[in-house]
Symmetry: C2
Subunit: 307 residues, 2 copies
């Protein structure tokens, strides 16, 4: 079985079945995709504060690929085994008054992270374990119109599912010949929800084994992920609730309450609290049947508070 | 410090600040509340199939309490340490074409469970670990109107938060003098979401230590729960996704896809699959920021498949 390497010099910024594949592989072969960060290098330790504060025009997420899998046809699916990640020592997280779960409620804050061996420090006393994954893994959607990278679709894409870590396997439908798989938007860590719109955004190389499941049709992304679900589940959780007749508003309330808690009890600024929620707090749908009020709960792992 | 016992002979079916307390305790004292099951004895091994199939008129969940905590006043909060549960050997789960996350999509199925020491069997080869909690813990809301037990509120109530197991602590606001705490609706196990509208419903006695947090105001229920979050996180998970611009519809899609998977891959009937989702599958908000599509994922623990 062959293994291939795609550098991060050539990227694409849209999903488009007409983009020529960078590599053609057989089912079961391995590819290493070197991926730029989501903001295409705008933030990072190599940039001045002035440059990073300048407006950024996004063309979309830079994606590495596509990978063409021989024999893949619409109606098949791919099994993508996530084997390994290699980060480059740094990452960033940013909130602003636009985007995210709570637009208009926070100012701008940019955090640059130094990625250590297995963890990264938010500030003294708060350490986030690294649990890297690709925010974006997807195949080319059907049709020959270019599509934006922001929304996830049944073809996968910008799913930001934090449990797609090394050791997990993602299953994706195939919509065009070869599948045309690409990846990018790697995260060093992220909570379920990614509430401020960024996790620990970081350039990384990801190594994957891609296999064809001939004739096995699935309606959208599915995956298998190993136990334990997270490295943070060691010292319990503090949780807040959102109780509302609308599930999105319940989600917002749970995070607002968590931000209040982090400000009052942990001495963070509101923006620091929002960022910390995005990289470390997990949103769960506690109940969605006790009409008319649903509950979304936000879980803060206590293991991130050290010393 | 005193400890008190309230039997399940006297219950109340609404939240109402005018219901006289059954016991008055000091902060830090312990109460054991014997709780009827959510359907007030309509289902169970003591009942004939004919009786259980007869229409049931619900007066509300039967609740044990209220407990008056001396000195509790509006603006304070209570810390409820959940110490222990004792089940009575049986439980039930039921779906129908009404209620739940997917009304109109399933027929009726009633499952009676024999609760063993630490687990219960769904059918040969599928075992659910018991992780008991109270579906309902709450205090009397402000005002003097009786309120239905179905919706949860900032006063708590029918929250169905599966991680309120023994070893966790629930924090609730106080809205009326004494707080007037009651509990009921115990579950032997449940997935995050409780999608078919019932968990493993079971009569249980729950032992709690209730402490007053004088002057500590909170906006709604909060809690601390120990690690690991669940006994099921031992052999990984299979997960489906719902990718939709509406968070509730994303939730529905994730469960529909999981039901399809359980029918195709595990040989369950659709109703069995729906029930299994309700008692064992966890719903997570994977991302709620990649406009216009949010992702809710449904996690099936593989550890429940034995032998």
């Amino acid at each position: 079985m062959g293994s291939y390497y795609l550098d991060d010099k050539t990227v694409h910024y849209q999903w488009d079945s007409r983009i020529a594949p960078r590599v053609v592989i057989d089912s079961g072969e391995t590819v290493t995709l070197d991926c730029r960060d989501a903001a295409d290098g705008h933030y990072g330790p190599h940039r001045s504060a002035e440059d990073m504060a300048a407006p950024r025009v996004s063309r979309g997420h830079p994606l590495t690929g596509p990978v063409y899998v021989r024999g893949a046809e619409p109606g098949d699916s791919l099994a993508i085994e996530i084997l390994a990640f290699e980060h480059k020592g740094w990452g960033w997280t940013r909130c602003s008054d636009r985007g995210g779960l709570l637009p208009g409620e926070f100012g701008t804050l940019l955090k640059l992270w130094e990625l250590q061996d297995g963890y990264t420090e938010f500030k003294p006393g708060i350490r986030i374990p690294l649990e890297p994954f690709c925010g974006i893994m997807g195949v080319a959607p059907a049709g020959d119109e270019p599509l934006a990278t922001m929304p996830p679709r049944s073809a996968g894409g910008n799913m930001d599912i934090r449990h797609l870590v090394a050791g997990s396997t993602l299953f994706l439908p195939v919509y065009v010949p070869g599948g045309l798989f690409s990846a990018g938007d790697c995260h060093g860590a992220q909570g379920d929800g990614e509430v401020c719109i960024t996790g620990i955004e970081a350039p990384m190389a990801v190594t994957l084994r891609i296999s064809l499941r001939k004739g096995y049709t699935i309606p959208g992304p599915q995956f298998v992920t190993p136990s334990p679900l997270t490295k943070t589940d060691t010292r319990g959780y503090f949780a807040t609730t959102g109780i509302e007749p609308d599930l999105l508003e319940a989600t917002r309330q749970a995070i607002r309450h968590m931000v209040e808690h982090l400000v009052q009890e942990r001495g963070l600024t509101r923006e620091e609290a929002y960022l910390l929620c995005s990289v470390a707090v997990d949103l769960k749908v506690s109940e969605v049947v006790d009409a008319p009020n649903w509950i979304v709960s936000a879980y803060l792992p206590l293991s991130i508070f050290v010393g």
